[in-house]
Symmetry: C2
Subunit: 134 residues, 2 copies
DNA sequence: CAGTATCCGAGCGGATACTG
DNA sequence: CAGTATCCGCTCGGATACTG
């Protein structure tokens, strides 16, 4: 992993300078590292959802944030919006091909999280015990 | 991928409710999804760095943010701080075993980013062309 | 060198009310 | 049903100055 400007064989090099604006990983995180995007992607990875389904299923999301999140994902080509002209309106969201490819690295991260969440919790607790003050 | 409270075989289930506070992936993102953590992890993944090295290498980071980022990573057990008592002081940061395990899923995400950044850029451009207004 | 302390502006996201 | 519009607090992070 490396910034584009300093692509180096892993483990090598002294690395000149790393820029957050030109680093692939950080670029993804800027898009899906927010509070809601991943949740939306995960749900759409299971199946197509209607707007109201997402709103009901994602606990605590506001209409505003759901709309903004979906808009950003659609804009980035990860999610597809399909409006069925009917009364009442019916709008469905699903992952695009591109969006589905993201599921794999996301799953890898999820596995890590599941496997190591307890380690992190323990490390944190130990740390806080040793440094009582804030 | 799924929220802990609704762990479901991928692609299955109607999924009751997904909570951002109880979802492994989001938990990781809450820790390393910020502006600087990944950059630090990546650099420490290459080799041990001194504080000043990180400060020089990571373009644009402030002392404040470098310190806060390192503190959080140490607290979570991903990074180890070693202070050599000498004058002038010499403090080295390196990944812990736990921190190194994170490198793998991060690399997966990096690969995705490199492989698809152009797709995203194109999708975005097309989208903006079709919807001229903000 | 390796931090800490303080101040402050920008924007992320919640709450609420309204609409095609 | 599927959104918009508006207001607003709070946190993230930058700038600057100071210290063991």
């Amino acid at each position: 992993m490396s910034a584009t400007n300093t692509r180096v064989p892993p483990g090598e090099g002294v690395g000149p300078a790393v820029n957050p604006d030109d680093c692939p990983v950080r670029e993804v995180l800027d898009r899906i590292g927010d509070k809601w995007s991943v949740l939306v992607i995960v749900l759409l990875g299971r199946r197509t959802h209607r707007y109201s389904e997402l709103h009901r299923t994602i606990d605590g999301i506001s209409q505003r944030m759901l709309t903004l999140t979906l808009r950003a994902l659609v804009r980035d080509g990860l999610v597809e919006r399909t409006a069925h002209a009917s009364v009442p309106p019916r709008v469905e969201y699903s992952l695009t091909g591109l969006g589905r490819t993201l599921l794999e690295p996301l799953t890898a991260l999820d596995r890590w999280a599941v496997e190591h969440r307890e380690d992190v919790r323990a490390a944190r607790e130990r740390h806080d015990r040793e440094r009582p003050g804030a």
